[in-house]
């Protein structure tokens, strides 16, 4: 009997095939399969195709359990760009793939923890929503942390 295959559909309507026993590492997919076993295509409206390709690559890994920790670390290390890591972390969070989510968030945290405020805002494209006066007030308050 051939292994059962699932089809996942990304936000931009691309289709990806993956064997069911690998796909169910995602708790979200596992629950969908349980509830609605016969479903042919699983839509993932929040995950773009580039990110979904990465997630599928991760789910398809052939790692011995004892090497898994190192593998997932290396996997995210190789995708050191913050926007990619954020997309990956968000997808792993939505799909409930704990190890991947942990590793991706840890990588982002490690990257930004020594950044200056300006660098954090630039890397994560955050708008400074304080007026210069408000900015000065809060910087004065937390001056001891700089």
């Amino acid at each position: 009997m051939s292994k059962k295959t699932l089809t996942l559909m990304s936000k931009d309507k691309q289709l990806f095939n993956i064997e069911e026993h690998l796909a169910v590492q995602s708790v979200t997919i596992r629950n969908m399969v349980k509830e609605d076993g016969a479903s042919s295509v699983i839509p993932l409206p929040r995950v773009d195709s580039e990110t979904l390709a990465l997630v599928i690559e991760y789910l398809n890994r052939q790692q011995a359990p004892e090497e898994d920790e190192d593998y997932v670390k290396k996997f995210v290390d190789e995708r050191g760009e913050i926007p990619t890591l954020l997309e990956l972390a968000q997808a792993a969070l939505d799909l409930d793939i704990k190890k991947l989510m942990d590793a991706a968030c840890m990588k982002v945290a490690d990257l930004i923890k020594d950044f200056t405020l300006e660098e954090v805002r630039e890397a994560l494209r955050i708008e400074n929503d304080r007026t210069p006066e408000e900015e000065k007030a809060i910087r004065d308050e937390f001056q001891w942390a700089f």
């Binding site: 968030c105 840890m106 490690d110 923890k113 994560l124 708008e127 937390f142």
Partner: protein, 431 residues
Amino acid sequence: MASPHQQPTTIENLPGELLSEILIRIPAKPLARMRCVSKPWNAVLSKPSFIKSHLHRSMHDDDEILLVLADGGLCVPFSMTAHFSQSPRLELTNFIKLPVMLSQYESETVQFLGSVNGLICFCYQSDNDDFPYHITLYTDLVIQIWNPSLSTVLTLPPFQLLPNRYFDFTNVYFRFGYDPKTDDYKLVKLMSRSQEWLQVEVYSLRKDSWGLLTQRFPSHVIEIDNEDSVSVDGYDGRLHWLGSIGKEKKLRTIVAFDLGMETFSETSLPHSLIDHNVSWLDTLGVIAGKLCLLSCTENLKCEVWVMNEYGVAESWVKHDLLSELSGVIYPYGFTLSNKFLYVTFADGIGMYDQISADTKIMGMTSLHRTYKIVRYVESLVWMAPIRSSILKTVNRVRAGVDLQAWLTLTLIVCEVTWGFNNTYRKKMVQI
């Protein structure tokens, strides 16, 4: 599978859940700085639920770091060293900078009062040139709560009840704990004179003030053991003392203080130990969230008794946890990760992991010093009490005269800034 060019992700259009998942993995000090990034970040970082999750994560991190605080001996300064529990002999250098006050004061005046959730409470004698350091003048006692992960320190306001005279044999005991129900940190001060318990005072971090209790410490308890060497007590919102009853001090009891209700209660010891000779080695601790008693028998074999159901004397169960260890050991207690800490004359401080049956030696012991061991925890607790200046009133007393008659209110203007510029200034203005 090529996709059309997409807008790069911005964290603002990602849900707050992802932001929290990332921020929770950042140490406390950079997080304090990141409150300045934007208003939504400040909102996430100041949420009590986030602060608690961050603390929880730090406490359950596998790379446990233990801080060893050594009281000073004669001519030896107070010291603190940090060690990974995986390789405890190695000292982590430059891991934590002691507050300036701790490193500059004569060691014997510094006293460690307790530690919980990454906060360390200690006291020291402020400058008083008229008296030698070893004479404790409670009026000049400065009590502080220190958050090493944020490098911040808070000076407590003065308490009300002071010993009457210098040499009246008044004992003062302090203990520091956390109450999860009210999310508050409290310092309890017990005072006894001529075997009589005086009114109890409790400091609340939330209120930043001391309060007097109406209930007193149980009067039939003559003596207490105030040791809290590993400082894991107080996690369930209670502090515990091992007390002896009656003039002969043969009977024993456990006195508990509920930090939320601010009431005392008593719990019986295991039946077989109630009238067993009091050993100075006996100590209370917490193992896997349960109150335990480390009891050393006459042949210096240590037994661990665990109270399975809190407050139920019948639920004490003897555990044969330490049968692997031989020889004379001085039990300290259990770490947060349930490793047993002890001292031997030959090796100094040792750490025994019951699960792997593995013993690690930390070493570094001197008979003249007392060691306290606490877990280092990244903590955002008490993020911002340090403003550019804090006004604190302190009782100060003219030297050599009856204390209470000469209470002088002094305003201390403290300006504390640590970290990069590392300065500590204290100005005193008398009114």
